[in-house]
Amino acid sequence: MEIKFNGQWREFPDDSTVIEVLDAVGASRQGVAVAVNGEVVRRGDWAAAVVPKGANFDVLTAVQGG
């Protein structure tokens, strides 16, 4: 299935969970937050949360900023 990962369409196995998506792209699990379709997915739910086909999946972290 296709997911829009950080703004770019990418292919993932059907019914991937949040953790499986993070692992598939090699994203860190520390110091990051995940939003699926504009809603926060709490860290404790990552293993169980299945990402819907076509979802906007964003991984965010801290950068330098005022």
Partner: protein, 250 residues
């Protein structure tokens, strides 16, 4: 100096530093150490965005607390989502609420800011609200439950100093939460003035990170904030029109 208390957090430094604008992490580290700050702002961006690596590690190594901001947000809804993501990523209840009206001025949007503040307070955040130097709005933000109100001295990054000192004094006179002067600081005397006006702390980034010598300017800001705090506590003499001899008359 007495401790600065914001919400349930306590700091011995009254200088809060923004990390934006530093040429690299080495420069930033030297400036942060020289500033003596215990709290610094960070922004939240996509994890693959440039500049995403290293700053977290640096701040943790220096044992500096994180104050994630919502810079770049235009609406209350965006700011609330960004704050929730920051809490999830960084494991902190602190948020510097910023909702900008436009890119040209980066002025805070008062209506969206107030709405976001109400929602974030209800969601358990310790909200530092970036605001215009409007005494009425500052009070409304305090009433909404913000832990600190942060009026601007001048627009972000301008270095114009405190354009309306009287408004800052009005805010300080009525606020019961700490007032943190945020934005517009250009040089050390601006930071001193903020503290002399009664602000509890100063938040700045550009003045240090884009100075020719960030480390030295950070040290200057540290001394400036301390000087202003001491002077405010000491009580300045009244300003007079005519001379008043300090030596005894003949």
């Amino acid at each position: 100096m007495d401790d600065l208390i914001i919400g349930s957090h306590k700091y011995s430094s009254r200088l809060i530093i923004g990390t934006g604008g530093a040429a690299n992490l080495e420069v930033l580290e030297r400036a942060l150490v020289a500033s003596g700050t215990e709290l610094t702002t960070v922004a939240l961006r996509r994890a693959d965005a440039e500049g995403g690596s290293g700053v977290l590690e640096l701040l943790r190594r220096l044992d500096i607390q994180l104050l994630p901001n919502t810079a770049g947000c235009r609406t209350a809804a965006e700011a609330v989502l960004t704050a929730q993501l920051a809490r999830e990523a960084l494991d902190t209840d602190l948020v510097k609420l910023e909702v900008h009206a436009d890119d040209r001025t980066l002025l805070p949007d008062p209506i969206e800011t107030l709405e976001a503040a109400e929602r974030l307070v209800a969601d358990g955040f310790t909200v530092f609200a970036y605001t215009n130097d409007d005494p009425v709005l500052a009070l409304r933000l305090e009433e909404a439950g913000c832990a600190a109100v942060m009026p601007l001295g001048a627009p972000i990054g301008t270095g114009l100093g405190i354009r309306n000192p009287h408004n800052i004094e009005l805010i300080v006179a009525r606020a019961s939460v700490p007032v943190v002067l945020d934005a517009g600081i250009g040089t050390a005397s601006d930071a001193t003035l903020a503290m002399e006006l009664g602000c509890a702390a100063v938040l700045l980034s550009t003045a240090v990170t884009r100075a020719a010598d960030p480390e030295r300017m950070a040290a200057a800001m540290r001394a400036a904030v301390e000087a202003g705090y001491l002077a405010r506590g000491a009580g300045r003499v009244p300003q007079r029109f005519w001379a008043h001899a300090s030596s005894p008359p003949r």
